[in-house]
């Protein structure tokens, strides 16, 4: 199949949205667009499988290359491997759910959906790019819609949060840019092409400079400690769909970049800085978890827990074993689905109770069984219950991390393991406080989820279960991609059995 469809379809949807007259039309057009994306993602998944079954073992499938700026050696080079397919699936899931939960947006509906769809285009473009310039282009495209989504449709100190988010993410992408330029000029052939670069040997001095630039730059997107502070503010101010996109898709851009760009083309740099990465990620995991314990606002709780969960992504990459890398991809997808669902639920609750303070809620299970059940499921997923995706991802990361025999990584893994207790503590505190206990008087007349909310939640839960109950297909999907990354790393990695 032609994977540029993944970019063209959202683009087309966005344009059509602009031409629509009223909010209802806009909603249905976006819904249709999102559904088509969803279908397209599945088509991609199945044709990917088919192609692989037919014995196509090339690294990237459905490759396409159009020259763009020939004088800079820039081209539209697209292609997907299992990792990208997984991320695309994630995006499709989150987009359709995001469109569904925003059904009640009344303020500037057209612009809202336009930005949502634009954001999805950025994400798809990012995930299928094999040219670093294009990748960077799409990375940045996805920043400003977030700023506007938060700033216009947000709540609380939205302007502050929007600014902080935009500036920190731009800061991250500035570092990425410098790193990319360093890589571009390091080799004898000046190229942004990922495949070309991965075949070249980038001088170790360049790697030592560019790897941290790229890793930290992408790391900002994925809430690398200590550059995570945009996460709580940004998520908490964003409108529901905005938070979903932010946590579900946008934070994954960073993780994907860390893996696909930084680690893949500069394995020696990755090795050199591995211990620092691990240190930072373990700090993020524990620190995020402990900070979450003290939060009172639901969105802050989820935002800080995202910091903690995204720490696992970084940890998996930092450990540099095949299993841990697979785990980190799984964690990206799993966290994407889970946190999107969590924000969706928070949005639903907020719409009804008009508060996000955990202490002000109680006993909602009685009035809103569906929403509360979803809240339970997502909470359990977050704390790593088997059968749901979070467990699979975390365990894979732990198993991968444990393959190193050295004490430092052992201790890091054990600390990371301990965080799941802390996670259990804060998740249960919040979830039980909200849905259990005596029902408060002011909540006597609340209603349960509407059709669109139910559909959104069910779609995301389906994704979570698909990975959680049957992880083997996902493992098979991602594993060849991780294998290729590892092939670059393993010749220089000593001491891993």
């Amino acid at each position: 199949m032609n994977i540029t469809l993944l970019i063209l379809l959202p683009l087309l949807t966005a344009i059509v949205i602009l031409l629509m007259q009223n909010a209802t039309q806009v909603k249905w057009v976006s819904m249709m667009g999102a559904t088509l994306q969803f279908v397209l993602a599945f088509v991609l998944l199945f044709s990917f499988y088919k192609e692989r079954q037919l014995g196509n073992t090339s690294q990237m499938l459905f490759e396409l290359k159009y020259n763009w700026f020939p004088s800079w050696n820039i081209s539209f080079h697209f292609g997907v491997d299992g990792i990208s397919v997984a991320m695309i699936m994630l995006t499709a899931f989150v987009v359709i759910a995001g469109v569904l939960v925003s059904w009640n947006v009344t303020k500037m509906t057209k612009e809202f959906y336009f930005l949502l769809i634009l954001l999805s285009m950025g994400a798809y473009g990012f995930f299928i790019s094999l040219d670093l310039f294009i990748l960077f282009f799409f990375l940045e495209i996805a920043v400003i819609p977030k700023y506007l989504l938060i700033g216009i449709w947000g709540s609380g100190k939205k302007e502050y949060s929007a600014n902080k988010l935009a500036l920190m993410l731009m800061g991250g992408s500035a570092l990425v840019l410098v790193g990319l330029l360093g890589v571009y000029f390091s080799a004898s052939i000046h190229s942004f092409d990922l495949i070309t670069l991965s075949l070249l040997h980038i001088p170790i001095q360049t790697q030592l400079i560019c790897f941290p630039l790229l890793f930290v730059g992408f790391g900002v997107f994925t809430a690398l400690f200590p550059f995570h502070t945009w996460v709580p503010d940004g998520h908490s101010s964003a409108p529901t769909a905005g938070s979903m996109f932010l946590a579900g898709i946008s934070m994954k851009l960073g993780g994907y970049g860390c893996l696909r760009v930084a680690t893949y083309i500069m394995p020696e740099g990755a090795k050199e800085y591995a211990s620092i990465i691990i240190l930072l990620s373990v700090i993020a995991i524990l620190y995020g978890a402990f900070a979450t314990m003290m939060q009172k606002d639901l969105k802050y709780i989820n935002a800080y827990s995202s910091v903690s969960h995204c720490g696992f992504v970084i940890l998996g990459i930092g450990m540099l074993t095949k299993t841990s890398i697979i785990g980190s991809v799984m964690q990206m997808v799993s966290h994407g689905l889970m946190t999107a669902l969590f924000f969706a639920v928070i949005g639903m609750i907020y719409e009804r109770t008009h508060t996000r303070q955990v202490s002000e809620m109680g006993g909602l299970l009685k009035r809103m069984p569906f929403i509360s059940t979803v809240l339970f499921i997502v909470g359990l997923c977050s704390l790593g219950l088997p059968g749901l995706s979070g467990f699979i991802a975390e365990m894979t990361i732990f198993m991968g991390s444990w393959q190193h025999p050295d004490t430092f990584r052992r201790v890091a893994t054990i600390l990371a393991c301990l965080s799941i207790v802390v996670t259990a503590v804060y998740i249960l505190r919040a979830v039980t406080k909200i849905s259990m206990g005596p029902l408060k008087d002011e909540f006597k007349n609340l209603t349960d989820a509407t059709w669109n909310e139910k559909l959104a939640a069910l779609i995301l839960i389906a994704g979570i279960l698909a990975i959680g109950v049957a992880p083997f297909w996902f493992n098979d999907l991602v594993s060849p991609g991780a294998e290729i990354i590892m092939q670059k790393i393993s010749p220089i990695t000593i001491g891993i059995k």
Binding site: F290, M293, M294, L380, M395, A424, M436, G437
Partner: protein, 649 residues
Amino acid sequence: MPNVTYIALIPLLPLAAFLILGIFGRKYFKNTSGIIATALLLISTLLAVYTAYGYFFEYGKVDGIYQKLIPLKYTWLQFSEGVSIDMGIIIDPISVMMLVVVTFISLMVHIYSLGYMKGDDRFPTYYAFLGLFTFSMLGLIISSNIFQIYIFWELVGVSSFLLIGYYYDKPSAVAACKKAFIVTRFADVGFLIGILILSFYSNTLDFNKLIERLTTPESNELKNAVAASFLGISALTWGLVLVFIGGAGKSAMFPLHIWLPDAMEGPTPVSALIHAATMVVAGVFLVARLFPVFSISSPNALSLVGYVGAISALIAAVIACTQTDIKRVLAYSTMSQIGYMMFALGVSKYGGEDGLGYTASMFHLFTHAIFKALLFLGAGAVIHYIHSNEMKDMGGLRKYLPITHITFLIACLAISGVPPFAGFFSKEEILLAAYQNNKTIYWVALITSGLTSFYMFRLYFSIFWGRTRPSSFKRDCDEVKGEGGFVMMLPLVLLAFGAATAGFIPFGHFISSDRITLENKFHLMFSISPVALGLTGIIIAMWMYKKENNKPEKFAAMSSGLYKAAYHKFYIDEIYIFITQKIIFNLIARPTAWFDKNIVDGMINATGEGTKEISEKIKTFQSGKIQQYAICFLVGLISLALLFIYVWK
């Protein structure tokens, strides 16, 4: 070996019940859900019994050894070469035995709940959760892979959480379910790290391979695992100890037992199923599953199991003597009995006669499941009748609840080890095993045994004898159904039958540490002292509690310090609260949140503010005076000239 893949249905049927009732129950099966779940479980139970029959009497035994059969195995998640989570079924004596126990007790509870939970507005949900629990527990039992067992381990944890919190509008229930989940979760991290360690050295997650590699003295895996050490203890021992911590958490061993008494907030049938008969013995089951590794390769870890079990048994028994909530008494009694099972494993050795402890532990697990479920269900009938858990509200109920009274008495006799009831046989074996291997534990066990009969009969006499208290159940005196009808009495009677007769099963024939039939030996002389001690306990309890008097108060006053400490459960809860609230919350979480808000975020904000500040400071350069502009111009020119002509050539 015949095709036994139908075993997969045993756990899957309850899962089906969970799914059907969980998704459609509220809408379509409002009243029939109990029947559906029970029917499905009945099929499971029959299948389990059929399996047991087939395994023990037809195909299980080859060359005098019960085989470990793996009729089904799918790779679920491949981690790396050789290391993968496989979803499989293992059939060996303990798993078959457990299948029967779990399905049978679960079935009893299902039936009982038809009466007990009648009229509850979340009836379908209740049965859905029961289904989930049964599924998870059965899955745990038949796990062929250590990670598979961990998965179901977590699932039983969450089902227990859901069921404890079933009465979700009761704040105490909510607190209890959280506590249960978090404490066991904490222990599970130990389990998880243990798995990581074991899998790293054995390079497999499969039970059979793992046990084989870690018990063969000449295997490289074992050598590496023993050679690697951390803090002077070998990696293997670490791994096993950590796995045991997981088991201890689930089985409420000291000091991770604090959740169990609180877990009694759940509906009583649930307590009977989960927190008495099945889930809480998962830890014992886990140690039994890995028993060869414990006993052959790491005796140190095994003796830790023994001591932890013994301490738990004693402490729990002491506490149980002072509690007034009948379910809590039973909860502590459960903990104490599991302690028995644990130390029975701890004192056992591998193979032959030395492995008596193993057999005894499994035997006790079996009998305990029956009589403890019976006790809980009996207590449930009492609570159902009287709407209170407190002993002080009870008394003289034998007239009102005759069947309950009889069955309860049988259960009490069984747990106290009075012959010929079931508990007598299993306990006697345990004490014998302890006597042969570890005298310290033996004495502890003996004392505990006396205490057990004392607190059980204290409970019995307080409920069924003494003065009736009209104030508490005046309104119920004329209630017709009284004991809850057929559905509630049937399980009681069946279980009472089991409690009375299960001891005569020649357990060693079927279950032993090396899976070779062990001949039952009965030591009449040896069993005199425990039985005598048990009877003494009963007599003391009768003397103190049969009639209303002030002896208990006097006695309590006499041993005030010990009594107070035991009454407050030795302040272990308080210690936990201190650690969690004061240390984790106030010393870690709060500073972390503060640090994040003020230091990390502060730094980011300070960068922004600082930029603005500088911008404000330097604004005077743009003075609006054209001559100053020109001066700047010239100064810039001259400094550039100086820089590039003299400094930076």
